[in-house]
């Protein structure tokens, strides 16, 4: 299967999810997808299916907590909240991301 150009770089999904939940508060999976898409002005698109394994893994790792609740349309959905451990993880991932982008752009600029 050929990947679409705007697919999310492997390993950055956790960063995006953590950041989204940190800024926008508790959210369900669909809202996370939409939020990332909207905020990135359609540049980034989460591969929807792979979101859920990632969410569950992060929960098992203790970065997220989840509870069942209802949406405005009164539908049952699972809401994810970032934990303290998740915030520490976020800080780390932001740090390594900026180092990566800085490194890459330096290479692009001077190489």
């Amino acid at each position: 299967m050929a990947r679409a150009k705007n697919d999310i770089l492997q390993g950055t999904l956790a960063l995006l999810v953590l950041r989204t939940l940190d800024v926008a508060g508790p959210m369900h999976g669909y809202a996370i997808t939409s939020h990332i898409q909207v905020v990135s002005a359609d540049l980034l698109r989460v591969e929807e299916g792979s979101l859920y394994p990632a969410l569950h893994r992060m929960e098992q790792d203790g970065w997220l907590r989840s509870t069942w609740g209802s949406t405005e349309k009164n539908r049952e959905a699972r809401f994810y909240t970032i934990t303290a451990k998740g915030r520490r993880q976020l800080a780390q991932e932001e740090e390594s991301w900026s180092r990566l982008t800085e490194g890459v752009s330096r290479v692009l600029r001077y190489a």
Binding site: G29, G49, Y52, H56, G62
Partner: protein
Amino acid sequence: MAWHHRILNIFRSNRISRDIQREIDFHITERVDDLVARGMPEAEARRAARRQFGNEGTQREETRRMDIADWVQSVAGDARYALRALLHSPVFAVVTIASLGLGIGANTTIFTLLDAVVLRPLAVTRPSELAYVSMDKVTVEGPSSGIDGDVYFTNPLWEQVRDRQTAFRAVTAFGETSFDLAEGGEAHRVAGSYVSGEFFRTFGVTAAAGRLFTKSDDIRGCAGSVVLSYRFWEREYGAAPDIVGKVIRLNGHPFEIAGIVGAAFRGPDVGRESDVYLPLCAMEVLHGRESELDARSSWWLRVIGRYAPGVDVRQAGARMAAIARASYEETIPQNWRVNDQREYVGRTLTVAPADRGFSDVRQRYRTALLSLMAGVVLILMIACANVANLLLSRAEARHRELAIRLAIGAGRGRLLRQLVTESMVLAVAGAVVGLFVARVGTTALVALITTPGPSGAVSLDLSLNWRLLSFTALAATVTVVLCGLLPAWRATRVSAQSAMKAQARGVVEGHTRFRLGKSLVVAQVALSLVLVVSAGFLVGTLNNLSRINPGFSAEGVLLATVGLRRAGVPAGAVGATHQRILERVRAMPGVASASSSDLTPVGSMSWNDEIVVDGFTPKTFMDAVTWFNEVSDGYFATMRTRLLGGRDFSSADVPGGEKVAIVNDAWGRKFFGNSSPLGRQFRVRAGNTLSAPYTIVGLVENSKYRTLREGSEPIAYVPSSQSAEPAPRRVVEVRAGGNPSALIPALRDILHEVNPGITVDFRTLSGQLATSLQRERMLAVLSGIFGSVALALAVLGLYGVTSYSVARRRGELGVRIALGAVRARVVRLVLGEVGIVVAIGLVIGTVGARVASTQVAPFLYGTEPADPFVYVGAALLLAAVAFMAGLIPAWRAARVDPIEALREQ
């Protein structure tokens, strides 16, 4: 890592799956709403939403895997699947589990005994600190049995060692005996020990109740008190706590019970446990002036010590050697000849580790158990080959199923795991059956090596321990690896294409799996031949020994050991009392004849002396030593030992008259060659003096003295009527008209009438002979069982492989029959195949059996490790049984209906 959550989640896996499904459903519903809101028709929106989500099933599984430690669950699933599969083929499951159970059970049984008897250290505090003291360089034969060197001490020598030694923090001496609990009449014997004061301290054991002996309990002239073993306390007193301080009567003497020893302690003799412990000094209370405490040539004590701090075996040895000379010089046996005394003083003392204690049982059964261990390992191998073969056939039958599963994307590792799980389930079931077999087996085995009487009881701690558990686990694991992996490996190596193709047409496919099956059967046949040959040797040996003419007839003879010690008979009247008992017994109805003697043949006691014969110069000291027995008139008639010449003893042989003797043929030939010994004379040497001459008045046939295995040993008999100092203990031999045991009540009454204080033990002469063949019987029975099991397993394997081959060649056989092959020819074809397999197995097996026969060589009698009859017989037996096993499938092959067989194609 929240791995514990993930494992816990296994138990709510259904809810988790449901939640994930709900979450995904919600996501898709939201997407559909959005798309519809943007104006897409609903049906199209649904399709688009699903497309956008991707492979829903995969993602669901993936998500689930994040929540659940799924490998655990899939293993459980595999096991469930395996169980279900096994239930579908019950015959396969039963045969496999029974094979494994027998193999593992037999291994565990023998290992349990081997562990208890040979491997395990004593159940005492830090057994590695214990060492036994022995004498080096003892050339006088007789007193010491030389089990682990010459470990028996006299009490005077022990006292010297005790007072002089510096090698041990605590040191103790102990000698075993038996005590009679009965007040009179039929004896109630229990195993006992005389122990020195520091006995329990040396072993570091504590009391379960009351107190144990200390140094102050063992002082000459003591009144004596008693410590009971834990098991005796349970058995005789129901573990009553108030027993301490009460009185117990041993041989009629009252002793106070001081305490009960802790449950774990079974004494320093592995296999023999004392019920009653008495301090050494109490021997004087029981035996008065016959006590052995001052006897300088009564060797009956063994010495064990616990190293002093910082002392090891080498230093202890040096320290003991340093005190040796002084100890020996103080205890020279005065009645020995000067040469022997000089040799005595020259002896030294040595020290050796005693962490596993002493053991007669170990001595007698060590090699036997090791050989049996080798035997059961062979059985396990045969069982494994069987199981491997069954698993192979089964895997073959599931060829297509596996091929399909591989074709639709099952991982090879996944399939392997599935198959290994199946063997795991089998092995676990087999191990459970095996443990059960072992439980029953060890009890039966201990019964097989136990002899009647207090000295014959075998006391072993056979409870389940970690060594045993790990051994069983190891046996099971090895079985799985051997039986499971190989067939699993082969089964998954199929290429899907070839498997399905092979099924479609009756091609005779690659012979690989078949060749492997056959070589397994070859191995089975070879291994079983080894076991059958060994069984042949050992059963043959027992048979030879039971058929020996011992020089007397044991059938129908009751032995009553009569003791006058507690009957208050004055020393001068002992002989007359024995005579009166004998006359009363002879008058009993149902008694054909009766006699009495000092010793009985093939019993536990013996008596030898050095004799002097004019004209005979002994080549060595032992050359002039012959066996003795003191018998009444009528002894030879009662035993049915033939009188070859001269006369029997009679009432005319009185103490004051000419001393007479009867000798056996071997005795006569040894000292007088071919001339008749009748009328000739010999003397007996006692220390530095010679006895008055004995005139030989009778000649009897040779008979066995100590064991059935011995050759014709020279024996001299002297009349009890001439005994200067008749012993209070004598054995009365009664030849009954019918069942000898039926005479016991009447005999007991007669003894009671003569004197109520008389003690008596009963046994039969044939029982005594059987006891002497205990080890041979155990080996014969076990090797017989092993041989049969091996044979049965091999036949099963052979039958399985032949049936399988016939089933596979149905098509080919159908064609042959259709083309006019006679059915007899088809039978020959199949049997020929069996014949080749068996023949190869037998050739290999013969070589193996010849090697193994050197193992059993020390047990053999009347046969030898190269005896061709045994090999040929075993091979014929195996071939015959194999022929039968092949006949059924061959018969089935011949009855193949060609039309049906071809239609199946």
